[in-house]
């Protein structure tokens, strides 16, 4: 048939193209390019050079891919800029919902005495360290008055179960007040499970409350991290996990590990413990800096280098587990991969810009003080009130969210304008952590060249992207994690 034109008839004869904003990094001998919204492309140095010189041939695969991914546009793809605009808006649109995670510190009291914990008190004085009904009711009003359609109330401590009456009060108060508002309301208790009872579990079952607990590794490690009278934190936690699963359902309990110096020795024994306890994954959490870095206000590259080795070894071990047919995730990697591969923001508070403080999660202290984050509360315990952004007794939602005390650290830490970050290939996947940087360097922005936070993230992103892109088997495992 002659009526049909051949393929080359449709080839673009205008060879000029326009560069759209992008950044690059060198990883393991390859060049990684990322664009304005986090699309990525691995290539060679020569291609990068030819790309910026304007000499990339418009029928080469590199050209076609880079154009589809919106690194360049030409007269065939005038829609590119509009699409980039839509993607940018979509990515940022979630922020207008403001806070969905509301942490209620209902008691500072705890029967554990963990050395890395700055806040808990050994005391029987309920009046001094427990949240009152009056404060609780104000916190509920505050939490429900924001725009977020989803509200998760997390009970924290100390050990929140030591103030179970206030916990019950909050659940009832929130449910009742929410009837007219209609938000998607959920509850979770962060507890070490040492004082859990059948009565408490029955209550959780009735109100569909989930449990988040701590498990630092096998008994020796866990009990070392978490001293309590009887030295049986591990036994209580694992028995508790079993009980919760029996009463509430297998998936109603998740566990978080606190990473300490001692954990770094061998991630495998921790991962084995999580497997043994039947969890479907583990969060290889960054080292908490609050034990040493904040106190000494010193940055500790040694700690984060060691953590990165710990993470890499752990990840490799977890991939081996997956290859043997057992589905087991590493949640930190899964969160980052989701950002990279779907352009969707999984809402992880520590990897957002504007930062997650206040607008991602907010803390109501037992005494009515409002903090921008849990770490901000810890800082206050050490005498620095920088992140105390209001008080339930005097401030309403608007007062707090429009206050300079919240807006200053948010504005000043934005990655898009931060030195180094603004040129970093990982800017779209990373985030701002004004509390960490303030605690370690005295300003919200920090110096990224010396930042532990940056070291950890930069290396994690490089490692994950490189691993994802170079091995098919690993690739499909990673993909299964984000589904």
């Amino acid at each position: 048939m002659t009526k049909f034109q051949k393929q080359n008839f449709f080839q673009n004869t205008n060879e000029s193209y326009e560069l759209l904003p992008f950044r690059f990094a060198r990883i393991n001998g390859r060049v990684l390019l990322t664009n304005l919204v986090g699309e990525y492309f691995f290539t060679k140095d020569e291609v990068l050079k030819s790309l910026v010189d304007g000499t990339l041939p418009n029928d080469s695969d590199d050209y076609l891919n880079l154009r589809s991914l919106h690194f360049i546009c030409d007269d065939q793809t005038q829609s590119a800029k509009q699409l980039l605009g839509i993607k940018t808006r979509t990515k940022l649109s979630n922020y207008s919902n403001l806070t969905s995670l509301h942490m209620f510190v209902i008691s500072l009291r705890c029967e554990h005495s963990c050395p890395y914990c700055q806040v808990s008190r050994q005391s029987d004085d309920k009046l001094a360290f427990d949240m009152s009904y009056e404060t609780a009711s104000k916190a509920v009003d505050f939490a429900l008055s924001g725009p977020s359609p989803r509200i998760k109330i997390e009970f924290q401590g100390g050990e929140p179960l030591l103030n179970f009456d206030t916990l019950k009060f909050i659940v009832h108060d929130a449910k009742e007040k929410n009837e007219a508002i209609g938000k998607d309301l959920s509850f979770v208790i962060a507890t070490n499970l040492a004082v859990i009872t059948d009565e408490i579990l029955d209550y959780c079952k009735l109100h569909d409350i989930e449990i988040s607990t701590s498990l630092d590794g096998p008994a020796s490690l866990h009990n070392h991290n978490r001293p309590r009278p009887g030295n049986n934190s591990y036994e209580l936690a694992t028995e508790g996990i079993k009980k919760v699963r029996e009463k509430l359902g297998f998936d109603k309990v998740n566990a978080l590990m606190t990473t300490t110096d001692k954990s770094l020795d061998d991630p495998r024994i921790i991962i084995d413990e999580y497997l043994k306890q039947g969890f479907s994954g583990i969060f290889l959490r960054p080292l908490s800096p609050y034990g040493f870095a904040i106190k000494t206000k010193k940055y500790n590259a040694y700690g984060s280098k060691k953590w990165f080795e710990f993470y890499k070894t752990g990840l490799e071990y977890i991939l081996e587990i997956n290859k043997s047919g057992v589905h087991f995730r590493e949640f930190y990697s899964a969160t980052i991969l989701k950002k990279i591969l779907t352009l969707k923001d999984p809402g992880y508070v520590d990897l957002r810009s504007p930062a997650g403080i206040g607008i991602g999660g907010i803390v109501y202290n037992y005494d009515g003080k409002i903090f921008a984050s849990d770490e901000g509360r810890m800082l206050a315990e050490m005498g620095d009130n920088t992140f105390e952004i209001g008080n339930l007794a005097t401030d309403n939602f608007k007062d707090v969210f429009l206050s300079d005390k919240l807006l200053d650290p948010l504005e000043q830490s934005m990655t898009t304008s931060a030195p180094r970050c603004s040129e970093c290939a990982f800017e779209q996947y990373c985030g701002a952590d004004p509390v960490f940087h303030y605690a370690t360097t005295g300003d919200f922005l920090g110096k990224k060249a010396e930042s532990d936070f940056c070291y950890r993230n930069y290396n994690t992103f490089s490692h994950l992207l490189d691993t994802y892109d170079s091995n098919l088997e690993t690739r499909s495992i990673f993909e299964s994690w984000i589904n």
């Binding site: 009526k3 034109q5 393929q7 449709f10 589809s68 065939q76 005038q78 829609s79 993607k87």
Partner: protein, 385 residues
């Protein structure tokens, strides 16, 4: 395959032009209603026909030989599928057209054969002659279609060549058939005019999906497949305009030699840029129309691309985009696409090969178009044990 259009020499009519009627087999239908119906006589017996129907049809010519009635049509054997509820257009030259079949899962109305594309694999090769009577018939039929119809479609050619008149059709659907979901097959380019998209939006049809093909993330390939320069950008713009107004959009990709090479990239492009579309249809090649002429440039055995298809589906699933695989045989796809595998979209009788009779999963399999059986199908059809 059913033949929807036919003609008879054995008929009598006293009207000029055409008459669109619903078939009824109810001889006690209330008199005032009968005018709108064609009475069907199924049994092969000579009996007294009830009075007052708009027309009478039968497969038995002798029924009519003595008839006192004026409008009767002896329907040809190949249209014996006709039954009560079907909507039939009769013409004064004896042609008979089953425009709507009540027992079909899905009815499609061809609105025009004119098109501004000339796709390599077009199943309805474009013609340039004026055919707006097709739209007029569809407009008429809407008044007769049962209110409980779940879903139906309008195709072309390119229906948007009618501009405002197509919008009128949608409005009429909303008025007469508010419960019926409608699909409109379009190349989407007309909607690159935001004003036209707004016209559709103003009708506020509760369930109207515009089904738009994107054959590649590479404009040159898409333009080649549809044989039109500048098509890609305009189509993307059209989709964006429709979605900005919250209109439903489905993206259709026909898989063949020209599109398979970047199928995964195309799905990635969709999942990153057009995440908000309502559905993506991944369709196997039908061997009709232009496809037969261009077969050497189009054919690829589905069995040979099944891993690519799996990847494409995985990309869409990962982004939580609804997607379906149509027109494929179960034995040519990997098990990991089975959740997205759709048995059949049309009720064109799915046909099977001899091999299929041994197959334990025949009831789940979409089988073949008759054109595939006739001209080309996978070399790897293998019964499940």
């Amino acid at each position: 395959m059913l033949q929807l259009r036919g003609s008879t020499k054995d008929f009598h009519c006293d009207f000029i032009g055409h008459k669109m009627l619903i078939i009824s087999d109810d001889s006690s239908l209330p008199f005032p209603l009968r005018e709108k119906y064609a009475y069907i006589l199924k049994e092969n017996i000579d009996t007294n026909l009830p009075d007052g129907f708009g027309a009478y049809i039968s497969q038995n010519a002798s029924v009519f030989s003595t008839s006192k009635h004026k409008n009767w049509f002896h329907i040809p054997q190949y249209m014996d599928y006709m039954e009560a509820g079907d909507i039939i257009n009769f013409k004064d030259d004896g042609s008979i057209w089953a425009i709507f079949r009540s027992n079909a899962k899905y009815n499609t109305f061809l609105l025009t054969e004119r098109c501004n594309h000339y796709c390599l694999m077009c199943s309805q090769p474009p013609k340039s002659k004026e055919d707006s009577w097709l739209l007029e018939r569809a407009m008429e039929a809407i008044e007769l279609i049962p209110r409980d119809t779940v879903r139906m479609g309008f195709s072309g050619g390119e229906p948007t060549i009618y501009k405002e008149k197509l919008i009128d059709l949608v409005e009429k659907c909303r008025g007469y058939l508010p419960q019926t979901a409608i699909d409109i097959l379009s190349n989407g380019r007309a909607f690159s005019d935001p004003e036209y998209a707004r016209l559709l939006h103003k009708i506020d049809h509760p369930n109207c999906m515009i089904c738009i093909p994107i054959y590649s993330d590479v404009p040159e390939i898409h333009n080649y497949v549809v044989q039109s320069e500048d098509a890609f950008d305009e189509t993307i713009q059209g989709i964006l305009n429709l979605k900005a107004l919250n209109q439903k959009v489905e993206i259709r990709i026909v898989i063949h030699q020209q599109t398979i090479g970047r199928l995964v990239e195309t799905c990635e492009y969709i999942s990153r840029n057009l995440l908000f579309v309502d559905h993506v249809a991944l369709m196997g090649l039908e061997i009709t129309g232009f496809t037969r002429a261009n077969l050497p440039d189009l054919w690829i055995d589905p069995y040979d691309y099944k891993d690519t298809l799996s990847q494409a589906v995985a990309v869409l699933n990962r982004s939580k985009i609804n997607n379906s695989v149509y027109n494929h045989q179960l034995c040519t796809v990997n098990p990991d696409v089975e959740d997205n595998y759709v048995h059949s979209i049309s009720d064109w009788k799915n046909e099977y090969l001899d091999e299929c009779n041994k197959c334990s999963r025949k009831h789940e399999c979409g089988g073949f178009f008759s054109s595939q059986i006739l001209y080309k199908h996978s070399d790897h059809i293998k019964a499940f044990s």
